[in-house]
Symmetry: C2
Subunit: 236 residues, 2 copies
Amino acid sequence: MKKKAIVLLSGGLDSAVALFFARDKDYVCHCLNFDYGQRHNIEMVMAKKLSAGAGTALKTMKLVLPWGGSSLLDKKSALPSGRKPEEIKKSGIPSTYVPARNTIFLGIAASYAEAIAADAIFIGAHSEDSSGYPDCRKAYLEAFDRVIRIGTKRGLEKRLSLEFPLIGMAKKDIIKLGKSLGVPFQHTWSCYRGGTIRRIAANMPCGKCDSCILREKGFREAGLNDPLARQTIWTM
Amino acid sequence: MKKKAIVLLSGGLDSAVALFFARDKDYVCHCLNFDYGQRHNIEMVMAKKLSAGAGTALKTMKLVLPWGGSSLLDKKSALPSGRKPEEIKKSGIPSTYVPARNTIFLGIAASYAEAIAADAIFIGAHSEDSSGYPDCRKAYLEAFDRVIRIGTKRGLEKRLSLEFPLIGMAKKDIIKLGKSLGVPFQHTWSCYRGGTIRRIAANMPCGKCDSCILREKGFREAGLNDPLARQTIWTM
């Protein structure tokens, strides 16, 4: 019988690569997506396209964190803009950090994993070329893996683990890996700003937020073109 | 300035003691309660009474786990009944285990803690005289403490930790501690069955589920009377 995996699928580039990676490792994947009051829902539209394209199930959980605490949740706060990759890396935890987001998402994924008797939970987190989120670092993911292994029934039976295959990779290598796995990058959305109708129609991520900057750097260093910069989303 | 704590308050006896313990340690307490599809809502009514009685804030988060996976969520499944305390302790993880419940609750508590700049998260979990839940054991709580310490901003600043003061205590000692702290036990509900109107009106927890059995043992061994067995809830 094939192994089962829960894959945290945000609709961003990294989680898309994690999904295709798990599928390539022969897991039957069950994607888990969260509607948690993000500034925009383009990511969620992308998660649907990605999971459908990969032939996997997708479950979206609605979860409102009434205390906010992040510029990714509060449309009135300013997003970091125009920072260089090295500035992003050096400047500590940015305002886009959503308090304990991965801990919440992984906890819910662990519950889902117990219920459907999954063997692994995949997360596309990495800390190279990223925004300094504490819940994307290797030590954190290792600690959470231990939580799952000793704090769930499946874990205690040695049947459940947390997998974070992208953790040590640079963005360019994640993109190259995704390319080799056939990830449809045109169905991944990284821009924090989401998009006004005008921007989406014109097919333009903002190009200035940290996430756009890091994506652009990744594609450039990988020597690949980002299809989002050239195709129109509406035709996908 | 006084320290702040998030207290997971289910409305059961243990979390009530944890709340009064934290308050006694001079924390300003912010209680967090979950409406997650329990079989009954008496616990939640009790959480309101307890937090009001303790003069603390209470936030209730609604969270539905669509996959269920527990006899505590599914009214159609049978609850363990009539088991002796030693049977409960020896029989492994019972059907009342809710997959990864504490991991989800603690993750959300960590997010709340970040947002209000809390110093600690209190949980009343313990593993003596309890139901063998993997997410109530010391090793699990220590692992989650590490997740919080390295996976949150407050944790990295060494300003947030998980506190589980009841972990090594027998139920009788938790009850004695609660008594000394002035916990209103008549406002705590342990019975898994909740109660039909008839049972509540007659002021009777079922007396047969694991939770009733362990509570009864605790009060008996502590040499105290359980007020729930004598008072009418409606008059509280």
